[in-house]
Amino acid sequence: MSTGTTTRSGGPTTLPVLRYVPGLLLLAVVGIVGTLAQNEVRALGKATGTALPDLEYVLWAIILGLVIRNTIGVPALFRPGVATYEFWLKIGIVLLGARFVLGDLLKLGGLSLGLILIDMAVATTVILLVGKLFGLGGKLSSLLAIGTSICGVSAIIAGRGSIDADDEDSGYAIAAILALGAVALFTFPLIGHALNLSDTQFGLWAGLAVDNTAETTATGAAYSPHAQDVAVAVKSTRNALIGLVVLGYAAYWSTRGGKAVASGPKERAAFVWRTFPKFVLGFLAVSALATAHVFTKAEVTSLGNLSKWAFLLCFAGVGLNFDLRQMARSGFRPLVVAALGLVVVATCSLGLVLLTSQWVTFG
């Protein structure tokens, strides 16, 4: 995931935090309109007996944001606040920990870790091979493989410095991963419903196969709240592996025109810690508190609803930050390679989920 927050201060006479207010209000308005659209369209369909598209608020909010961004645009006044969407995603994930029993989380994490390792091997092999076939540079293919197998944008950002890739390569890789995240967001729920996947199966699948954490969370939420919970837990396991995977690529590229990011064990441990997504620790800590019955049932519900509010701001931001023109400029070949990678990973993950999900009794 990319870090959506910026820390530059405003002018000497303005409170820096005020820069974020207009954009935050826009995120809230777009998100709330998304929930109203879901409720109103459902009510209208019920009242008139017509089969209107039953879209979840997640998709309404993202579509609305996308339309705003790509028609009238997002004025500069709103951009600092709109760019904070991943900050809200992280808060939402930490608070979501209240809805998990630690034992379930460890079981889910253990199972998904095995599946993630298989997926990673498949994604890496396919993308590096197809990248070679399409004449992509080795570093661009590596970035696409890192982004597809682990955590989308933030893994690419961590990988960029480590394998000494140039800005153009990382720009292509990020654009391709974001574009495919958006495709997955709209296609995965349709496929899940067509295959009659259970909420747990769908959550596992989305957590394993959708590239960027915001899109993974939204894809799960577009299916059901339970699918979202499972998707976030599985994706957090994937995210936790960023440091190790990037370190592996860095070691490979250090003798092939990259740079040595960490020479000794101490430096390697420091690198893994630096790239580790700290909000995963918060998620586990809150889950441990919930497991210890620190919260009442009503408090767990309130924390869960706060998490939904935080996700709502994030989903609005996903749409408002998605610039179709920028995606179109990102180049055709990286997109095709990443798309083939996504198809292979999605198919492989789905097969693994169908094979193994019988072992998961959760929630």
Binding site: T3, G4, T5, T7, I32, T35, L36, Q38, N39, Y57, E86, F87, K90, I91, V94, L95, A98, P277, K278, F279, L281, G282, V286, L289, V294, F295, T296, A298, E299, T301, S302, L303, N305, L306, K308, W309
Partner: protein, 43 residues
Amino acid sequence: MGAEPEPKPAPRISADWAAVAVAAVLVLLAAFGLLPTITFLVK
């Protein structure tokens, strides 16, 4: 003349830690029974 000491960069925390800190405040409020009932717009 000695050079001016370079100003120290302002202490910054990562977005990850900032998110954990904000969530921690809400979790502490809940743990102490001070979090009001929060509802969501979609059931």
